[in-house]
């Protein structure tokens, strides 16, 4: 199996989908500069640099998507999505409904976030839950090179606007990616490690912290099940409900702030639908209600690490 970084996996997904479908195009801030191999193969009309103007990039994508193209746009960093909120939320997310189904918006928005580059809170803000709360949008956040490729291919083929969050700490971490056509469906979580004592549910970079924690917990005799959500909307409710029915204990882990985060939704659903299976209270580990600092130790401490996950899981299983 070839080894690719997520950056390369994204490039491979773009190239394959652009080859497959002539209506796919990609534009954004520095896209043609960074992806010159795509420019070489598909030409400057389908791989475009844009002004540093997120609103018009997203609006152009929404207008193009509704009229026959399938744009992928790169808005660089997730906090910059604030400049594109109207176009993504009010236009792409709502105009299908408002028009009584006259339009569809097959577009993908790429945005990086998370600690790792010391760039501070205006480049690092895990704001994925905002988009989960917005109707008409789908939201993805993969953790492995294989899923970066397979989920992006599915996102490009989907007829809805998809937010594709890239944990920047993962961007240059190589991983195995299956040869040939590799498509991962939206809305399907993945059990990375089966277990019976506690469910560790996560997405993005903290999935790897959960896997490391599971290793340490195994040494202490606790068999943890690790699930990578991958897709935050649609949410694979069956995956985590099935797991909690089995383990009776749930630990939800993400870098995004705990308050009104994706973990809060999952905790609420489990409390509503699997309460009788719970043998301990649900625990959420997530960032504080604070902007992310640039200073390295503060930036790193924002996201839950394996030690915190181990401690919380041990406390749950006591």
């Amino acid at each position: 199996m070839p080894t690719l970084t997520p950056f390369e996996a994204i490039g491979a997904a773009l190239a394959e989908e652009m080859r497959r479908d002539p209506t796919v195009l990609v534009f954004g801030e520095g896209v043609a500069t960074k992806r010159h191999d795509l420019v070489d193969e598909f030409g400057p009309a389908r791989v475009r640099n844009t002004p540093l103007a997120e609103g018009i990039i997203a609006g152009t994508a929404a207008g193009a998507a509704a009229t026959g193209l399938r744009p992928v746009i790169d808005l660089l960093f997730a906090p910059f999505l604030c400049y594109a909120m109207d176009e993504l939320v009010n236009s792409a997310g709502k105009l299908r409904f408002i028009s009584g189904g006259q339009f569809a918006f097959p577009l993908v928005t790429l945005a990086m976030t998370g600690g790792g580059w010391g760039v501070g809170a205006q480049h690092n803000h895990n704001n994925e839950a905002w988009f989960v709360h917005s109707p008409g949008l789908k939201v993805l956040m993969p953790s492995s090179a294989a899923d970066f490729k397979g989920l992006l291919k599915s996102a490009i083929r989907d007829d809805n606007p998809v937010l594709f969050f890239i944990d920047l700490a993962l961007l240059h971490q190589p991983g195995e990616v299956p040869d040939g056509e590799h498509v991962v469906p939206l809305g399907k979580a993945k059990v990375l490690r089966p277990g019976s004592d506690v469910t560790l549910l996560s997405y993005g970079k903290t999935v790897h912290a959960c896997l490391a924690a599971a290793e340490q917990l195994a040494a202490a005799g606790i068999v943890a099940e690790v699930i990578d959500l991958r897709s935050l909307k649609p949410l694979d409710e069956a995956a985590f409900l099935t797991s909690v029915h089995k383990t009776g204990r749930l630990l939800v882990v993400h870098e995004a702030a705990r308050i009104a985060g994706v973990g809060a939704e999952i905790a609420a659903q489990v409390a509503e639908r699997a309460f009788a299976s719970l043998r301990a209270p649900i625990v959420r580990l997530g960032g504080p209600d604070a902007p992310a600092a640039a200073s390295h130790p503060l930036e790193q401490a924002f996201a839950p690490d394996a030690a915190a996950i181990v401690a919380a899981a041990r406390s749950l299983c006591r």
Partner: protein
């Protein structure tokens, strides 16, 4: 239904303006009676909308905003289905899910209507990119107001359209009012069209209350966009003679300004010109007005008879 794009007879333009006026007056009366939700009208701006739409070709696409009655009706939308939409009924063009503020009619090429001020400016570039990349013939006509011209996206849209050479006819309906505030309080300069030059594109201002002048300017501008593939900024200089949103007592409006603009009412001017030149005898003008009123009465009856959507429509059409 084919869009009506090849109209040249001023009597037909007058009939369209009368239809727009009667349609909006019916909405105002309905809202006073509590039967129709309040809305944003374009009373006083009929020539600006009708004149431009009459200059478009059948395969051109239109993006508009919450003051869309003239654009929709001149394009051939059925007033009954429009009123059904305004009243939230099942037979509305958007199944009653839009209401008055963002009515799209894809079959007529009226696309992606947005009530977010400037929303249409951000979407027009994408629609025009599709036209260009997919080799379709039509240009994109994007209607917005002087209020939207004060949004940041105005700059972003014109800049990108010029850099990417997109076939967009930008039409700023400068109606002097930005919701409850006169444009003099919010912007420098009189004319939005002066802003074309910095983007390396052409612009012009036309008397938006003279339907023939608007049509003539729009024909030239649209032809320029069509032949060059480049954007153009046309400003129609007009006046919103009713309030921002019904009901609105307009206590904030200078009565002298209001009266001066009412004296330039686009429908009265067109009617007078036609009657004075003998092209429309007064009795025929009266018959025209009667026909339009009868159409609106029938449209209201149609809309009123249309049922509300089933409650399960609350969650349909969210995802494709």
């Amino acid at each position: 239904m084919k869009p009506k794009s090849q109209i040249v007879d001023e009597t037909t333009l007058l009939e369209q303006m009368l239809l727009v006026r009667a349609y909006e007056e019916a909405i105002v009366a309905g809202s006073v009676a509590g039967k129709v939700p309040g809305t944003c009208t374009s009373v006083g701006q009929e020539a600006a909308g009708v004149g431009v739409v009459s200059a478009l070709a059948g395969d051109d696409l239109i993006l508009t905003n919450h003051r869309s009655a003239a654009h929709l009706l001149a394009r051939g939308a059925d007033p009954g289905r429009l009123l059904a939409e305004v009243m939230g009924r099942r037979d509305g063009y958007c199944k009653g899910k839009s209401g008055s503020l963002h009515i799209s009619v894809r079959e007529l090429g009226v696309m992606l209507t947005s009530t977010i001020v400037g929303g249409e400016l951000s979407l027009a570039t994408g629609v025009a990119l599709s036209q260009k990349m997919l080799g379709r013939p039509g240009i994109v006509a994007c209607f917005f107001g002087d209020g939207a011209a004060c949004e940041g996206v105005f700059h972003e849209s014109l800049n990108l359209a010029s850099v990417w050479q997109l076939p967009i006819l930008y039409i700023c309906e400068n109606n002097q009012w930005q919701a409850f505030v006169h444009r003099r309080e919010t912007m420098k300069g009189e004319h939005i069209s002066e802003r074309a030059a910095p983007y390396g594109i052409d612009g012009a201002t036309v008397d938006g209350n003279d339907v023939l002048a608007v049509r003539s300017a729009a024909l030239a501008a649209a032809e320029g966009v069509r032949s060059s593939g480049r954007p153009f900024l046309l400003e129609t200089w007009t006046y919103r003679s009713r309030g921002h949103f019904e009901p609105d007592d307009q206590a904030y409006v200078d009565p002298a300004e209001h009266a001066a603009w009412l004296a330039r009412d686009p429908i009265a001017r067109s009617r007078q010109r036609l009657v004075d030149s003998g092209r429309l005898p007064p009795e025929e003008a009266a018959a025209l007005e009667r026909r339009v009123r009868e159409r609106i009465v029938a449209a209201l009856a149609f809309a009123d008879a249309s049922p509300f959507p089933a409650l399960d429509e609350m969650t349909t059409d969210v995802y494709a």
